[in-house]
Symmetry: C2
């Protein structure tokens, strides 16, 4: 059972205008009002100090440093107030608002299921689980959506964090370990669970957007276009014969091999392996980055036991090599789909160049101010489709969790050449690792707020 | 049985640089080599003069004048040679190459099925039916794709036209009338069949792209995102309960009410009515155009028997009214999907404004040189998807045909206030109707080459 004995906590705070990270002592979120001498042990005892009845207070076990944190760090986000950084965290529930009750049966399940002491993962944005968007699974566009790590909603690089709409937002680690063989639950590393807050679901989303798209459906499902998910009645009678296997070889490119790009590549390979197993469909993936150390990381990941030895369906390449590989594989036609995980116009331009006519660009990179780099005529002439935007992490967690537990060799490591996570540090190193991370001199770092 | 007695024919020709339409006597396509005195009556007698064994020569019954013809007419297409205009035509097969034979069983069905005298519709582009793209149903990106009405491939505003890859390209009217109740086949007007060459399939494609998109699937299929067409195995076990009907009310906008826009609106309503009948899902459509006479045409179409009286699910509006209607219907959230049928940046900008977060813009407008009018950040922040490009007409013909025969009150008329076709004229009026059509002073016109 978790306890809060103090009114204050340590947290990583950013100061405007840019590049200014300080570790400070600040009030713990709202339950600060509790007497410091009284441990929070029961649901009832928490309620006195909670800001909103739907809130949970989570004691942070690990918090991530993410490429998106750099937008604020560099002063690109038009924020004028100091804030507690971080939108990736896992932890333990230490306080719950009055909405959490066995009577809350008409609300998202966690309002009746979540208990003090439960281990939880939080998506990087709040989602209520109850609005029109949440009910449709579009948790990233919840009408109550709020990003952690903005002035309005203090982030997770702290010892405690307030989670609004917690019954909709949080995900119990129980529901992940329940997918594992009994007795093996302890093999699930906290550091790998942290990846569920953002980068693994975002990578899986990039892949799933491609595999579910109607323009890719002929290859995935074996029915010629437009015989897809919604088939009007008339079309049923004119359905052409199933595509033979030799017509269904899929080709993809993943552009950008930072941590999200590696997650996108691994998720894509995981899902393609499933499709291959069911239907025999073959696939080829080129993973692209101009940065040699990122390519080496990707290569090391592909050398893990998760992937068959002598895997010849994946090539890691720089930009020029990637163009050659795609031309050779596809006879100049281009890839069925491109996963664009960078978020700038040179990545989009390369994606356009590598995609085939009637192909898809699944773009999960966080783009900035420049106008999209294509003319309408280019988009028309190539029949390109684009899916842009933020991952609905909460809705993606079931699939991301499944990929996580089946690929623990990929997602479980710390500090090895193949690890997505370079190291776990205490807050005293925060300013230094922000600086190194900003300059590309270190990989993904986690904070242990209690170290 | 059709006959060719002449080496020459009359055709509508465009001359560079722009706005120059002449009706001239030109050779009939390749079978011109035949003796003018010998009627073509048998398969064998045709073969001597055909350019390629996969060709058919079609004697034109009706040819359409289309908005896309204006790109060439206005000199916007960088064409320096005179050409025979037109990419929309129906007619009768009068000559077939040697490939057409009962032995051609390993080729697309028409190579063994098509006979002299058969009535056919042609899509506005050639598609072989045999390449990788065609086999996958992507007939608009066939590796042999060629638009009718370019210097390289003389168009259909003539008395005869050469159809390359005819066994893949053409569609037999038989296969349309076979969908009709016996004895009613004669009710299918030639002028309505002409709409199958381009504008009805293109409109239906705009609608189908929206209804098949994974982001629209929660509403159409009742499963929360991302439980769509391709659902990885793990997700099956975590499938959330079906969405209740009250969560599945769909809202669309159609931008641009020219002939294709009317076809898109009617196709969308047709398909939505089918979805409603199956599942009870409700829908609302706003059809938008700044031009009052186009709105009146759309209103007249909606007053036809095809649509229920007092239909309250469709509103025809100018741009400002449309914004108000969408805001009122959706509480400011926006439409699930936008069908963009104009092809310029103000239409795309309006589409972006009217679409909801995590919505889709299905764009079939033929866009020109300007850069796309959105920033990457706008696309990211709204989680927008786009489907751009040309309709795969050949693959869409089964569904477009079905919509056509069920909506003959919409598609069968000529010259009425509700008709998509304003009039049928002879070639002697060609220069005049091009001029009027270019200036927006007449609607869609068909040519009868024999009038
Ligand atoms: Zn992140
Ligand atoms: Zn919500
Ligand atoms: Zn046309
Ligand atoms: Zn083809």
């Amino acid at each position: 059972m978790a306890e809060i004995y103090s009114k204050t906590q340590r947290a990583v705070r950013w100061y405007p205008p840019a590049y200014d990270i300080r570790v400070e002592t600040v009030p713990v979120p709202k339950s600060a009002a509790l007497s410091p001498a009284i441990p929070i042990k029961t649901l009832t005892s928490c309620l006195r100090s909670i800001l909103h009845p739907d809130d949970a207070i989570v004691k942070i076990t690990l918090a991530g440093l993410c490429g998106s944190d750099l937008h604020v760090y560099r002063g690109h986000e038009d924020v004028n107030d100091p804030l507690i950084c971080g939108h990736e965290f896992i932890g333990e529930v230490v306080a719950l608002g009055a909405s959490f009750s066995s009577d809350a049966t008409n609300r998202p399940a966690l309002y009746s299921d979540l208990k003090l002491g439960d281990k939880v993962v939080s998506p990087f944005t709040v989602s209520c689980g109850e609005c029109h968007f949440c009910r449709a699974g579009i948790s990233c566009r919840c009408i109550h959506s709020k990003l952690f790590g903005i002035p309005d909603l203090p982030g997770g690089q702290a010892q405690y964090v307030r989670v609004p709409k917690a019954g909709g937002t949080l995900f119990k680690v129980d529901s992940i370990t329940s997918l594992m063989p009994p007795g093996e639950e302890h093999t699930l590393a906290d550091s790998s669970l942290l990846l569920l807050a953002d980068i693994l679901p975002t990578g899986a989303f990039a892949a799933l957007q491609a595999l579910q798209h109607p323009k890719i459906s002929p290859w995935v499902n074996g029915s010629a276009y437009p015989y897809n998910s919604f088939v009007p009645e008339v079309m049923a009678s004119s359905r052409p014969p199933a595509l033979p296997l030799e017509d269904r070889a899929l080709t993809f490119a993943v552009i950008g091999l930072g941590p999200v790009g590696v997650c996108a590549t691994v998720s894509l390979l995981h899902l393609l392996a499933e499709i291959h197993e069911k239907s025999g469909v073959t696939f080829r993936v080129v993973a692209v980055d101009p940065n040699a150390s990122r390519r080496e990381k990707m290569q090391s990941v592909l050398a893990l036991p998760s992937f068959p030895p002598n895997i010849d369906t994946v090539v890691v390449a720089d930009i020029e090599d990637a163009k050659g590989v795609v031309a050779r594989w596809t006879g100049g036609v281009g890839c069925n789909a491109i996963l664009e995980v960078v978020g700038n116009n040179s990545a989009l331009t390369l994606a356009y160049e590598l995609v085939r006519p009637f192909g898809l660009i699944s773009s999960v990179g966080v783009h900035q101010a420049p106008q999209l780099p294509l003319t309408g005529r280019e988009a028309y002439d190539k029949n390109v489709s684009f899916d842009f935007g933020r991952c609905p992490v909460r809705s993606m967690l079931p699939i991301a969790s499944s990929i996580l537990i089946k690929r623990q060799d990929v997602f479980g490591g710390i500090g090895d050449q193949a690890s997505l996570i370079e190291k776990v540090v205490g807050f005293e190193e925060a300013a230094e690792v922000y600086d190194l991370f900003d300059k590309g001199r270190c990989g993904k770092v986690l904070f242990d707020p209690w170290q």
